[in-house]
Symmetry: C2
Subunit: 395 residues, 2 copies
């Protein structure tokens, strides 16, 4: 890092009391490109052994978890805890939905595309999403060049006649806004709702979602990205069967260890919401997110409008019983002025982010993870202030 | 089940001492279609808590296991135990191979097809395997109608010019024989070795395998099919990178819980081979397999040649230090005479098997799992004898 940066005054009000200015290593690369949810680790450390799970050598040898279930590899305990969690939070209506478990929501997106694509068409069905859309969709849809489905880009400008699949991410990745389908000739749209971030730590639960195809993931709900557990809530039995078939052919099911641990984690989370002697998981982490967003907004406010952030209106949350703004898992940061490659600018200051171009948007925007370690978040804010000072000094 | 069967004399020498004839429920459907490895459960029960693993709530939150590794989601402990196991068994030369972990070997097959297919060809590359071939290959290659690769059937009759991918399963699923590539114009063949069954409980380890692409799975090595852990040993760095990319896009890695448990299981297995006070995993289960095969051969021998089995020559095993015949994980059972649908015949006696047609072969053959519960294996043998008696009485 340059001497200019080292010599800059760091705003003392924003420093973590545990991180003194002298401690900051300006050469450390802070990776905020991925949404790796390490932010949740302190909560889970605090929980102690309440969430421990022991697996014996003789457990779960079989491919099968429940031969009577449509999704024959779904552990009954996980099914029970998923239902209980949605019931406690009230973010979903799922009385008539089937649950299909997957190796994370990436696999479930592919399973849903497989299940919803017409099987015997000469041309693959178009898959769209409104820009800025999740950067993974295009690659996930196209990497094996499927003859069943094909990425067709921004839903706003999609003009082809005939059926298509629209991915609706709500709250949206990268920009955190609540979304609805956007395609104009929407009557022929088959809709997949990616609701990975529809949890109270990120956004107000304004009403229970009730769609035909809804996807969730443990990674963003509890922070256990390493487990690779997601679930789909599917209204139509044949679609649920086809998604199960996809996962059977792709990976012959989903790790029983990961499912059993995810079940335990969801159980502990539900308990924390219902037992007032415990530290409510969602309230605890909402408060972490809220504090991070306040600090970030303060830094950006001080930037003399060089940076701008997405705005969110205050909404009434049915779970919390009060009004609050969203505090998304990602910042969608935009810059003004002559800077036309914000990712590059930040990289020059050892902050890795993801360019807006990857999301079908502009290189004046980047997506930045808000789920990093506290230490990395503090360094990020400090460097952001430094960048602003450098730019102010230039102008 | 019919009265004819109930009234038949069951060969007492073959009955499990724990299963009296009166106890047999003739209506129970015995599912030997899948290779569900429940046979291993008694060994793991006997091991007791030596194989226990406890996971805490704060462990393995991250997507990443080792950012310095080409396969960034591979747990270092699993990598270490895989190397140790191959070293102890001597079934592989792997000094210059990269390890890529997958959600079972099905995913690794797809990852290998993805990595080995030419990326920019107008037509997908042909994927072949010698009949009888594993019934899953065709579906796994074709289910998303990839434009990169396409199933082209039996390698014996493949005559297209140009490059192709050959899957070599050795020992072979379904028939247990040791295999080499077969395609005549083999100079352009890209080879994937599926070595899921190259372990001492199934076959003699005659020499360490040393190929460019080799696939293994915990399911068939240790019996933990529910874990969905497989690994690929890859000589070429770019191929290993592309396989890692496939798994990143398909499932963003592999469950950390499953990897950590698999590492523990492999550790215990290695220990059991090196510490003479422990019950050697491979010797123990080789003895179970050997006894099952002896009992099966006796029943088939008594069948007046209505049934026949694949023959295996005796080979010197470098691991065991003696000669023995293979005792494969599946029986490849053939029938003579007028019966032209053996799967149907067995199904009529409540034994579910997989027809030879599914393996690119004949409906006079079926594949039958030898890895079932002891109780189910006993019932299978008893019913096989009954079928033989019914047929003998008919003729």
């Amino acid at each position: 890092m340059s001497c200019i940066i080292k010599s800059c005054q760091v705003h003392s009000a924003l420093g973590n009391p545990e991180t003194r200015e002298d401690d900051i290593n300006w050469d450390t690369v802070i990776n905020l490109d991925h949404g790796d949810p390490i932010m949740y680790e302190p909560y889970w450390r605090k929980i102690g052994n309440r969430c421990d799970i022991t697996l014996s050598g003789y457990q779960s040898l079989s491919y099968f978890a429940n031969t009577k279930n449509l999704c024959w590899f779904l552990e009954p305990k996980l099914e029970e805890e998923i239902k209980r969690l949605h019931n406690v939070i009230g973010n979903v209506v799922m009385d008539d939905h089937y649950i299909v478990v997957g190796n994370g929501s990436s696999q479930l997106i592919q399973a849903a595309l497989f299940a919803l694509s017409p099987p015997n068409e000469p041309e693959p069905i178009s898959v769209v999403s409104a820009a800025p859309f999740y950067s993974g969709y295009a690659e996930v849809a196209d990497f094996v060049r499927s003859g069943l489905y094909k990425w067709a880009g921004d839903a706003h400008i999609f003009a082809k006649n005939g059926p298509y699949i629209e991915l609706i991410t709500s709250p949206n990745n990268p920009n955190g806004v609540i979304r609805e389908p956007v395609v104009v000739n929407g009557s022929q749209g088959i809709l997949i709702y990616d609701l990975a971030y529809y949890w109270p730590q990120y956004t107000a639960i304004t009403s229970p979602a009730n769609y035909d195809v809804m996807l969730f993931t443990v990674s963003k709900c509890t922070g256990h990205a390493g487990s690779r557990i997601g679930w789909a809530l599917i209204r139509d039995k044949e679609v649920a069967k086809k998604m199960t078939k996809f996962i059977e052919l792709n990976t012959i099911g989903v790790s029983k260890e990961a499912q059993l641990r995810a079940a335990k984690i969801l159980e502990v989370i539900c308990d924390s919401c219902l037992d007032s002697t415990l530290d409510n998981f969602f309230e605890h982490n909402q408060s972490v997110m809220s504090e991070r967003w306040q600090r970030l907004r303060q830094v950006v406010k001080d930037s003399d409008q060089f940076f701008t952030l997405q705005k969110y209106s205050s909404q009434y949350c049915l779970f919390k019983g009060n009004f609050y703004e969203s505090h998304p898992a990602f910042v969608w940061l935009m810059c003004k002025g002559n800077e036309d490659d914000l990712e590059k600018l930040l990289k020059g200051h050892n902050i890795l982010t993801r360019s807006g171009k990857r999301f079908g948007s502009d290189s004046k925007c980047v997506r930045i993870s808000m789920l990093s370690r506290e230490e990395d978040f503090n360094i990020f804010l400090q460097r952001l202030m430094v960048i602003q000072q450098v730019i102010t000094n230039k102008n």
